[in-house]
């Protein structure tokens, strides 16, 4: 019987000091009024100056090679830093995609020139990236994209439309997945796609806001009309884009941002109910904590497995499904234990959680897609 594997795993002791350093840094920032803890900050709270401070403090690009300006530490060191930033509700949307996936992608697939040009400023928290994946009507069926790149003198011309590119209006680049060979010629739906780094300020780029029901402008539609991309911005092997993207999914799906988005609300809830809750209120809070702790354990197991060269795609899908549901339910429990109207700061966190919740279980693969992945791994099909 196939069974999901979450080998017992723990973060190395070497991460402990780093954790305390980040915590000290954040305590000072909060005390200085640099930010007020919010929910879902990795998507919504874009603060270039805060990201630059993190860069200056050495908290970005941690696992990246020193050769290109990184800190040469481990993915688990980054994991600890990210946990602290999320748990404290710090404004980290500016560098989020850059630090999580664009940097590693460029280091893995990018040209030498691209690495030298981009990575140092990403480590410094000065160049920010978005994601260019989804297209209108592609929905959960990512392979159905229609944007194209055609070869031209010294580079490529990109055309098409990407949607749900978070913070494209505030960021500098995105890594975009496009067709470089038509489906008919490529022979298979997943073949003939390639990845490029694209400058979001280049001529021919039109960025239009997609406003969401929580009142945010986090997302954009990015329309590309003959956008020129230089040759050295091709990522990896021409035509191999799909495999490159899929290889990143476990990284994208397994992070602590999949269960910590509403942690600041949980902490606030504990203060709001006070030190002497009823048995039943205590049980509701305690169960949220038990769930958080259990998912954190699984998430660490996935992170360690990734760090050891494993590719726990299914396990990551499972953690994301469960974690995002927990994120939503924290909002539901909080608003019922503490009625609104008494504490505006608390109400703000509840509002963040409630109105952003639909996104938690849709972004990065809907929970229905994720459960299908898990079921297949379990051996039904």
């Amino acid at each position: 019987m196939a069974r999901l594997s979450f080998p017992p795993a723990a973060l190395p002791a070497s991460t402990e000091q780093l954790r305390l350093d980040v915590r000290d840094f954040l305590a000072k920032e909060i005390a200085d009024g640099a930010f007020v803890p919010r929910c879902d900050t990795w998507l919504s709270q874009h603060d270039p100056s805060f990201s630059a401070k993190l860069g200056a403090a050495g908290f970005l690009g941690l696992p990246w090679s020193k050769e290109y300006g990184g800190h040469g530490r481990t993915a688990l060191d980054r994991f600890v830093v990210v946990e602290e930033l999320l748990a404290h509700g710090a404004p980290i949307a500016a560098h989020w995609v850059s630090d999580r996936q664009s940097g590693p992608s460029i280091l893995k697939h990018g040209t030498e020139e691209a690495k030298r040009e981009l990575i140092p400023d990403m480590v410094a928290g000065k160049i920010f990236f978005s994601i260019g994946m989804s297209e209108p009507d592609s929905g959960s069926d990512l392979a159905s994209i229609r944007s194209t790149a055609t070869s031209t003198g010294g580079g490529w011309l990109l055309n098409g439309t990407k949607v749900w590119t978070s913070q494209a209006h505030n960021n500098h680049f995105f890594i975009v997945l496009v067709r470089t060979t038509p489906v008919a010629e490529a022979g298979a739906k997943h073949a003939g796609m390639s990845q490029f780094v694209m400058d979001l300020r280049a001529p021919g780029v039109d960025i239009r806001p997609i406003r969401t029901l929580n009142g945010h402008h986090d997302f954009n539609e990015v329309v590309m009309t003959d956008v020129f991309v230089p040759e050295h911005y091709l990522m990896g092997t021409l035509g191999n884009g799909w495999a490159q993207v899929i290889g990143e999914l476990a990284f994208e799906r397994s992070g602590p941002e999949r269960y910590l988005s509403t942690f600041p609300l949980l902490a606030a809830l504990i203060d709001a109910v006070g030190p002497n809750p009823s048995d039943e209120a205590a049980a509701q809070i305690g169960m949220l904590v038990a769930r958080l702790s259990a998912l954190r354990r699984l998430c660490i197991s996935v992170a360690v497995s990734l760090d050891n060269g494993g590719l726990p795609v299914t396990e990551a899908a499972l953690v994301k499904d469960m974690g995002t549901r927990l994120e939503s339910e924290i909002g539901e429990v909080a608003r019922q234990l503490v009625p609104p109207g008494a504490n505006p700061a608390f109400d703000q966190l509840v509002g963040d959680a409630v109105l952003s919740a639909p996104g938690f279980t849709l972004r990065g693969g809907t929970n229905e897609i994720l459960r299908g992945i898990v079921a297949r791994e379990l051996g039904v099909r």
Binding site: M1, A2, R3, L4, F6, P7, P8, A10, L11, P12, A13, S14, T15, R19, R23, E83, A87, H88, L266, A267, A268, L269, I270, D271, V273, P275, N276, P277, D279, E280, A281, A282, A283, Q284, I285, G286, M287, V289, A290, R291, S293, A294, L295, R296, R297, L298, S301, E315, L318, D321, M322, L370, R371, G372, V374, A375, L378, G379, V380, R381
Partner: protein, 336 residues
């Protein structure tokens, strides 16, 4: 940290061979004495007891692996209770035969003792300390079976308190130890139910196809697998913290989290497993119900999920919101 691989292989191999549905069925209302003897002969009933005290030695993770395996197979013997009860007999000789653990709460005149119906001795933990009683010497005021046919007895609290040797351990520790054993058993049983359900979904046909091809069944299985994995993770964290952290106040909290999560998982996993199995899984001849009935029984014993979640919730509430994250990041302990 993890259990000794050889030990895990031994217990798995032994239980796979011995614990058949027929023997589980036959043991209801009592225990499987020959299985117990086999476990004893293999030294598995004293893992976690130091060799100096006549035990087999071994770590808490070893103990956890044995009990989890017992839960996975539904082994009809009080192995979990025996192993955790023995940990209260520090400095005393550990008697042979199954042990039961009595949590002598101050608010109950009569104490229900899981597995008391087949144990040789009861380890009774009260505010007076720890007492070891031969079951034959106890005044039994009531007896019965839990949902899984595991026989309990009820004994007046005063009789259990008698003859206690002073100890640092009190009833709350015994409640925690019993809950820990249940969390181990439950983690195993939850895994088993996921396996049985996947297997059934691939075998059973309805409306001309395997039911595992229905999207709803697939999603049920994914949800069950998630709950089982998380319950296992909560248990692993409890084992790690309880064996490595010097801060003993944390021990009860990670056990609370493990028992609470396991109890929560039962609601989902048992419900969906029976829904997948349909009518056949509801009969007493199907393998499934040996696992689901155990889970229904175990989630109530030594504190339900709501009681343990409240223990955890009160602790974090008294610490305040800012203390929650530092607490969580102390479990699992960072290790080299």
């Amino acid at each position: 940290m993890r259990a000794d691989d050889l030990l895990v292989e031994t217990i798995e191999g032994l239980l796979s061979k011995e614990v058949t549905p027929e023997r589980i069925h036959a043991a209801e209302g009592g225990m499987d004495a020959s299985l117990w003897t086999l476990l004893e002969d293999n030294g598995l009933t004293s893992v976690g007891v130091p060799e100096s005290a006549g035990g087999m030695g071994g770590t808490l993770h070893d103990l956890g692996a044995i009990v989890r395996a017992a839960g996975r197979h539904g082994a009809p013997v009080p192995i979990g209770d025996t192993l955790v009860a023995a940990t209260f007999l520090t400095g005393a000789a550990i008697p042979s035969g199954p042990l039961a653990l009595a949590v002598v709460r101050n608010d109950r005149p009569v104490i229900r003792i899981p597995w008391g119906g087949v144990a040789q001795h009861v380890v009774a933990v009260s505010d007076d300390g720890v007492a070891l009683h031969p079951v034959g010497s106890m005044p039994i005021s009531a007896h019965g079976d839990n949902y899984a046919g595991e026989p309990w007895i009820e004994v007046p609290a005063d009789a259990l308190r008698a003859g206690a040797r002073p100890s640092n351990a009190g009833p709350s520790h015994a409640q925690g130890a019993g809950a820990f054993a249940r969390a181990m058993l439950m983690a195993g049983a939850l895994e088993r139910i996921v396996d049985l359900s996947v297997q059934y979904a691939n075998e059973r046909e309805q409306f001309g196809k395997q039911i595992g091809k229905f999207q709803t069944i697939q999603h049920y299985l994914a949800e069950m697998a998630g709950e089982a994995a998380a319950a296992g993770g909560a248990l692993d964290t409890a084992l790690d913290v309880a064996s490595s952290s010097a801060d003993t106040e944390q021990h009860i909290l990670v056990i609370a989290a493990a028992k609470a999560y396991a109890g929560r998982a039962v609601s989902t996993v048992n419900r969906l497993a029976h829904q997948i199995h349909g009518a056949i899984g509801f009969t007493d001849e199907h393998r499934l119900q040996y696992s689901t009935r155990r889970l229904w029984a175990w989630r109530d014993e030594f504190g339900s999920e709501s009681e343990w979640a409240a223990v955890l919730g009160r602790a974090v509430a008294s610490g305040g919101g800012d203390a929650l994250w530092p607490t969580l990041t102390r479990w699992p302990a960072a290790v080299a």
